[in-house]
């Protein structure tokens, strides 16, 4: 087992704007190849946190380390390891996609053929090779979003920060963006992904921090979060035969917390259905029950957020 290497560590980040405390003691770590999600509604403090992590915003308190090196707003060298994809589009509309990439590449001390080749690679990754030499003010919203991400990736950062990169994007482009992000962690990049879309956090993130009102309310894998708030999977079997016998058989499966019959089938509450489903089906069929369909309802982060904050994610 390889040791966990943290690319980003931030501790007790605090930031107030006047009397409004936007971030109140946020801290987390992200390891190499890990995608960490900050999930919370608008105004939760996600962008303020990212701004402090990238050194854009002076923090009132707290520490940020990139690969063990402290980061402040005045840091120069440390910033080479960070790629930022801001929530608002940050591209020059009068330049082409290639010119945008080349310009930002130069700011990261890239030059010559290395820069040209890398720009071509990124254009390929974000699917803009065919339109690389068109001015970006002629692009669709989705294309601009993809370029916005491409610029963040250009210099192969150790840590990529994506601040709600799919806001206002059509479903097709959104899917393309999510696929791109999935590949990043495979390449060993540490990714901090902020979103208020539960589906994105569940799909992309190895770990998620639930943030609300400037505080991380809970943190962990999806399963850990679900368990943390005492929620379990619900499994329904449409079945025939001796259903009561099937229910009795499930008593020997420790993950099954509760089981019963209902509407010509069986229903049960299970801790991690994904892991125990095969055992459950074996026990039930062993008791003579005939199964016609299986339906697993896993609790999602939306319900976790609701449990933790008393509010829906999109409130």
């Amino acid at each position: 087992m390889t040791a966990r290497v943290n690319v980003l560590e931030c501790r007790d980040l605090r930031k107030s704007f006047g009397d409004n405390a936007a971030v109140k003691g946020v801290g987390f770590e992200i390891a190499e190849g890990e995608t960490y999600g900050l999930l919370g509604p608008n105004g939760a403090g996600k962008t303020t946190t990212i701004s402090m992590v990238t050194g854009l915003l002076e923090r009132d308190a707290g520490e940020v380390f990139i690969d063990g090196e402290p980061l402040t707003t005045r840091s120069v060298a440390v910033k080479r390891g960070i790629g930022l994809v801001p929530q608002d589009l940050a591209i020059y509309p009068d330049l082409t996609a290639r010119e945008n990439l080349i310009f930002f590449g130069k700011l990261y001390d890239m030059a010559g053929n290395d820069l040209k080749n890398r720009a071509a690679e990124v254009l390929e990754v974000i699917g803009l090779t065919d339109r690389a030499d068109d001015r970006t003010d002629e692009y669709s919203g989705g294309m601009k979003r993809r370029l916005n991400i491409g610029i963040g990736l250009l210099h192969k950062p150790r840590l990529l920060l994506l601040d709600e990169p799919t806001v206002g994007v059509d479903p097709q482009s959104r899917n393309a963006i999510l696929e791109s992000v999935e590949h990043l962690s495979e390449e060993g990049m540490a990714v901090l992904y902020t979103t208020h879309y539960m589906e994105e956090a569940e799909r992309l993130c190895d770990r998620v921090g639930i943030i609300d009102l400037g505080e991380i309310k809970a943190e962990g894998t999806r399963r850990e979060l679900v368990q943390m708030v005492g929620q379990h999977d619900r499994v329904r079997l449409d079945a025939g035969g001796p259903l009561d016998a099937g229910v009795d058989a499930l008593a020997s499966v420790p993950a099954v917390k509760k089981a019963g019959t209902r509407d010509g089938g069986m229903e049960m509450v299970v801790d991690d259905a994904g892991q125990w489903l095969a055992d459950i089906l074996a026990k039930v069929t062993g008791a003579g029950v005939t199964i016609t369909s299986v339906d697993v309802d896993e609790p999602n982060l939306e319900s976790v957020f609701l449990h933790l904050t008393g509010r829906a994610l999109r409130d």
Binding site: S51, T54, G55, L56, E58, T73, R74, V76, A77, V78, K79, R80, I82, L84, P86, D88, L89, A90, I91, Y92, P93, D94, L95, E99, F103, F104, K106, L107, Y108, D109, I151
Partner: protein, 394 residues
């Protein structure tokens, strides 16, 4: 610092691509200079030519002296022609004809009536008629010539009267001639100052160049606020460079735009309109100092504006007010009073003053103006830098 050059290079590309810098920095001032030049060139190139008629109906001593003096004036200048007319009616007819439209016409006619000489010599009043068909420089000069003659006659009469009261025994004519031959106790000299205002086309070329320089320079300074509005500022600030590099990039871009614009204008107005800017080294010093002063003042405006639109509005107001006050459209220095002194609170006035001094003297004469312009740049630039840095931190 390398990043600052990259930022400046990118901004220049954007400005040349949208042509805004070209229009504000070159086309507008060149166009206005052409308009002003076309208005003022005919006045500068105007050459005085006049024809006068004279009718001597008297034939006496004084009248003969007047005609002789007039002919002497005509002989001394190729541009003044004297013709004789036989009668007052002929003189009126000649004066009624537009002299520019016909060689037959005259600008004015002098009529010396019968008994003119006797009247002058006997202290009786008499009229020397000046007939002109149209107002103009030629007619005005004729009246001035006649008035000068009348003044001299009055002077001679006073001298003769004084001579007689002291018991003089010579005849009045000889006494009068002696009085006229006596040199005037007061002489008038024309002296050109070394502290000269620019003239004509050079004035307008220089005035419009420095006026539009402020608009050109504001592109770079205000683009910092545009970067914020466009969202690209966050990317620049997240890049591995000092924030001062971002400001330096904008300053470099402003300087280059301003310099290119000024060089184009200096060369173009010299070749096309005949503007005389003076010694190139002195002009270079003034241009560089002028750009620095404009950069400082525009940085103050941008440093305290909240949006790019606000900065653009403020910049335009400041540029127009300083331009007018500094005398880029009309020579405020000649207005006298408080305006004449107040103009020196603007870089424009120092720039114009520097060019005026350069035209009248040598390169060293521009140093006070260059110093004043650099001081403007230093003071305003320091204040502006504080505002811009504060803006980057918020």
């Amino acid at each position: 610092m390398r990043q600052a050059w990259h930022i400046a290079s990118k901004d220049l590309k954007l400005r040349f691509r949208d042509r805004s810098a070209f229009i504000i920095g070159v086309i507008a001032p060149l166009g206005l200079a052409a308009i002003f030049s076309s208005i003022f060139n005919p006045i500068e190139e105007f050459q005085f030519v006049a024809t006068y008629a004279v009718v001597d109906l008297d034939g006496g001593f004084v009248a003969t002296q007047f005609v002789a003096g007039l002919e002497q004036f005509g002989a001394a200048s190729e541009d003044v022609k004297i013709v004789k007319a036989a009668s007052r009616e002929e003189a009126i007819a000649l004066a009624d004809v537009e002299p520019f439209s016909s060689e037959e016409g005259v600008d004015a006619a002098f009529v010396l009536p019968p008994g003119f000489s006797d009247a002058v010599q006997s202290d009786n009043p008499v009229a020397l008629e000046v007939i002109s068909g149209q107002a103009g420089v030629g007619a005005g000069l004729a009246i001035a010539f006649a008035e000068q003659f009348a003044s001299e006659m009055t002077y001679a009469r006073i001298a003769v009267a004084g001579f007689e009261s002291l018991g003089g025994t010579d005849d009045r004519g000889a006494a009068g001639l002696r009085a006229l031959a006596t040199p005037s106790p007061v002489s008038v000299e024309s002296v050109e100052t070394s502290d000269k205002e620019l003239a004509g086309k050079t004035f307008y070329a220089a005035g419009l160049a420095i006026f539009f320089l402020f608009f050109t320079v504001q592109f770079g300074v205000n683009s910092l606020l545009e970067e914020r509005h466009a969202g690209t500022l966050s990317r620049l600030m997240a890049a591995p460079m000092r924030r001062s590099s971002i400001i330096a990039g904008k300053a470099i871009m402003s300087f280059v735009l301003g310099f290119v614009s000024m060089v184009v204008l200096v060369v173009a107005t010299t070749l096309l309109f005949g503007a005389e800017w003076g010694n190139p080294i002195g002009v270079f010093l003034l241009v560089v100092a002028g750009i620095i002063s404009a950069l400082g003042i525009m940085a103050v405006v941008a440093g305290f504006a909240k949006t790019a639109e606000q900065a653009q509005n403020y910049s335009s107001m400041v540029a127009v007010i300083l331009g007018f006050l500094g005398g880029t459209f009309f020579p405020v220095g000649q207005a006298g009073g408080i305006l004449s002194d107040l103009r020196f609170v603007t870089p424009h006035a120092w720039f114009m003053q520097g060019l005026g001094d350069l035209g009248a003297g040598n390169v060293g004469d521009v140093l006070p103006a260059v110093g004043a312009l650099l001081l403007f740049g230093l003071v305003a630039g320091t204040i502006g830098l504080v505002g811009l840095r504060k803006g980057l931190q918020s």
